[in-house]
Symmetry: C2
Subunit: 535 residues, 2 copies
């Protein structure tokens, strides 16, 4: 290799920021063991043997006091874009050539690096996946990857990295949007978000139900308008200049007469902020403008919202928005709106009108998925090409029965009941038609529990996995954010309200067909020497 | 502007990935309200008025069942690099020119965009900061930014984004390293980490005490060796090919004879994994190699570690490492090592030898700061240039007394006691010498509590804030990771063990001098009309 003599450190030193940035975004964004395993597969002649890995998660986010009953798939589009663009190029191969074992030997053989130079991209990978924005469930495969063992193995880490966190955040956003009763939700989390991961978090929040983000770069890259209000520092600056809060508000609405949302808690909400806001709103009205709203960012947000509504209504501003923020999540919003339901009538306010004028700025607790900051999605080897035209199923027999995956090549169906609501996701063998008989036996993925469903109880069956990556490029039609958001909305409409419940939701059924269950039992028996059959 | 007619969507459409990536990494990585406020300041002739903002956090991470008593500052280096490189360029100005209000008008005036074109970088910003890697405390300023109001305001979001999350993760890593009794800790979190933020998380983990990361791209960019073992999928693949676990191990150690760490829990740890590992280790020994170790990734890690040690010792492998992983954090490690302390002697094992051979792979719970996934660092306006050669202090009077910041231009000192241990961080006015008298009065930052310290109790006083950014570039000497890690180690040695305690730590004192306390009280009184004085 032409760069053989250069050390990674010199190649990547401070003066060469472009190379450093390229490496961080590139195909080395994987775990070291993927590369050492890939080299073993290369040495054993297995690098190009076709295999299948499944991506799935085993349990929904559990936020401690509340739990998710479904997830929203997110992150697929950016993953597919990255897979199409990335490969082992010169800087990556140079970095691997520089790796040394403790005794100073090269860790990666030149033959392996040459193999990577030729085959080190994802052009031989095929992927099926549940499209972004759709409701997805525990234990059901959300993506299946087929392709050469070495590259499918290297893909594990970047795939999990690009799907786990976005799915986690889209799920939280969906819950926040539900708690907000469909009212406008703005994502404000960049300042407490995970450094550059805040972009993926913001995008996932939009996928999951947020209407806007304050993140300007992300909005510009998606072609949407960002949203925001103003900060306490603006009022403080005018105060320090002896101009005061009222003058700060006046000058701000003078510049933004048709979209000013005034933050009223820098000094005192009821004594200073709202009276000052009303005064400048009167000026706006006199000039023919329609004031935007006020924002509350501290204190008892339910009480202050009711009092703000009273004061604004008394001044004839019944339409201006009341934006609340400050450590909000789905439970806080639910609780605040419940309190407003109760208190508004006591002050002569119509509660539905008040709830309709509310907007929600949600930051830290959304972008960190407060309560459960990770989705445990995994990527498991489920089958290997037997070189005789079939897939040999693979399994891991864990200490923990709940961790035994569903083996082999498979299909995923969603079954809708007589009401048109999704009632089960069914995992079947690739070559069976599980709906041909009148009675469908459905088995728990890990426990010896099963139930029956009659064909007549099923109004519709839908195959969920679609081809999304072939021949080195995405083939999912590159849906835009609007399309993805519509998928979420439609899937939620078709989901039982019990499964959508914010606290202690009803458990959605993900089941195996009898044939798939038998395959799983057979493989466990084969690996452990024990025997098993469907009870 | 030359790009006037192009829409943001067209400028940023799928075909122009480079522009999209540039925007996501660039100066628009801020909240929308920073830009609308900046335009107001520009319109009011205040854009170039000098101000001071402080960065600080109000409370340590609280993980629920355990709490941090200190934090490790992290993220400063990458922040300073970014500040030196970024500015409002053509794509950013084009994106702002495309923003529209609801009635279709441009939100940003051409005059403001022209101002940004000329002044839209951080070359007029000066920053002082506590260096990366150092122990830092709640309520003490970790960074102070001085410069023109508009650009200092725009900096808020990217500064918080680049300091909050890394400081959170470095803090968690430091605790993990302490729980591991200084033993080797590897960061394995990329797959569950926050998408591209996993790089910042991995770097922060190294700052905070981890010895290695499995993240190949990050390691290469830092010029260090990544570490890893192998996955269950490798054993599964050999099993599916009817070769089995033993053959998988054999072929793996044949390729990596001097650094193989074998994952022994794919089938059964004690019945299959460890016996097979011992068999291949015997082969290695016969060839003159030194086996690396085994890894346990499920089950009762304490019990299995003890049993693994017994079996390995019986075969004469008393030195090979025992790596544990699987949802580890500081509390899990502490608990596992405590159990080993107790159980090892029952099996005739020397507990210290066993603990010394342990290594720790820490993933999800580190990179997400499990238990408390955000650091609430804030960036508050504390002073504004009065155009008469002085700083006019600024304050926000919140609903919550704990949120009232420390106003004005200031200094931060660390005071060491007779034992050479840090005993307090002291915030003073910029122009006072708090140590000139024999008695130092120290006031709580928010409560009416104070105490006295005699000069004779103080062995050393250290100024913590250093100049790190001037004239548009970093001036902190660009310390490497090793230097940063040494700072952490030294600071921890000088920290009381009570403050370092993993659960319910002793509270470290951050105090105001009498003059600073009086300034805070005066400003609150001025803003609210009440009066206050030091009790």
């Amino acid at each position: 290799m032409s760069s053989g003599g250069r050390s990674a450190a010199s190649l990547l030193s401070g003066s060469n920021e472009a190379v450093r940035g390229e490496l961080l975004d590139g195909i080395l964004q994987t775990d070291q063991y993927q590369l050492t395993m890939a080299q073993l597969y290369w040495k054993e002649g297995l690098a190009e043997r076709h295999v299948q890995f499944d991506f799935f998660f085993r349990s929904y986010p559990d936020y401690g006091t509340h739990q998710a009953g479904y997830c929203i798939a997110a992150g697929l589009g950016p993953l597919l874009e990255w897979m199409g663009d990335t490969r082992f190029g010169r800087p990556e191969l140079a970095a691997l050539a520089e790796q040394r074992t403790a005794d100073g030997k090269r860790r990666f053989d030149q033959g392996f690096l040459s193999w990577l130079e030729e085959h080190g991209d994802f052009s031989a990978i095929d992927m099926l996946a549940v499209p972004e924005g759709r409701v997805v469930h525990a234990n059901a495969p959300i993506a299946t990857v087929r392709g050469p063992l070495a590259m499918a193995q290297i893909l594990e880490t970047p795939l999990l990295n690009r799907l786990n966190y976005p799915t986690l955040i889209a799920t939280k956003a969906s819950r926040v949007k539900e708690a907000a009763r469909g009212g406008p939700v703005m994502e404000f989390g960049m300042r407490r978000g995970p450094e550059s991961g805040a972009h993926a978090g913001g995008r996932a929040a939009l996928v999951g139900g947020c209407d806007f983000t304050s993140n300007v770069a992300l909005s510009a890259s998606l072609g949407i308008e960002p949203k925001g209000t103003h900060a306490h520092s603006m009022v403080q600056a005018f105060m320090a200049l002896d101009l005061g809060e009222l003058e700060a508000f006046r000058r701000y609405v003078d510049l933004y007469p048709d979209e000013a949302i005034l933050l009223v808690d820098t000094i005192d909400v009821l004594e200073s902020g709202i009276p000052n806001a009303i005064e400048v709103f009167k000026g706006l009205r006199a000039q023919g403008h329609k004031p935007g709203g006020i924002r509350l960012d501290s204190g008892d947000l339910a009480y202050l919202s009711v009092q703000a509504a009273r004061m604004l209504n008394d001044a004839g501003f019944e339409d201006v928005s009341i934006v609340i923020s400050s450590d909000l999540d789905e439970l806080a919003i639910w609780s605040i709106l419940s309190q407003i339901d109760e208190e508004a009538p006591r002050y002569g306010l119509d509660r539905d009108s008040l709830v309709r004028r509310m907007m929600f700025g949600v930051g830290t607790r959304l972008i960190t998925s407060h309560g459960d900051p990770s989705l445990g999605g995994v990527y498991k080897l489920v089958a290997i090409d037997d070189l005789a035209g079939s897939w040999e199923p693979a399994i891991k027999v864990s200490e923990d029965l709940e961790k035994i995956p569903i083996p082999g090549e498979k299909q995923l169906f969603r079954v809708y009941d007589e009401r048109g609501l999704a009632s089960a996701d069914v995992v079947a063998l690739a070559d069976e038609d599980p709906f041909e008989g009148d009675l469908l036996e459905l088995h728990h993925p890990h426990r010896e529990v099963h139930r029956s469903m009659r064909r007549s109880e099923i109004s519709r069956v839908e195959a969920l996995l679609e081809s999304v990556f072939e021949d080195g490029r995405r083939v999912d039609g590159s849906p835009d954010l609007g399309t993805i958001r519509e998928r979420r909305a439609l899937d939620l409409e078709q989901l039982d309200t019990g499964v959508r419940r914010l606290v202690n939701p009803h458990i959605y059924h993900v089941s195996l067909t009898s044939k798939m269950k038998q395959l799983q039992l057979d493989l466990v028996a084969e690996a452990t020497g024990a025997s098993g059959s469907i009870s």
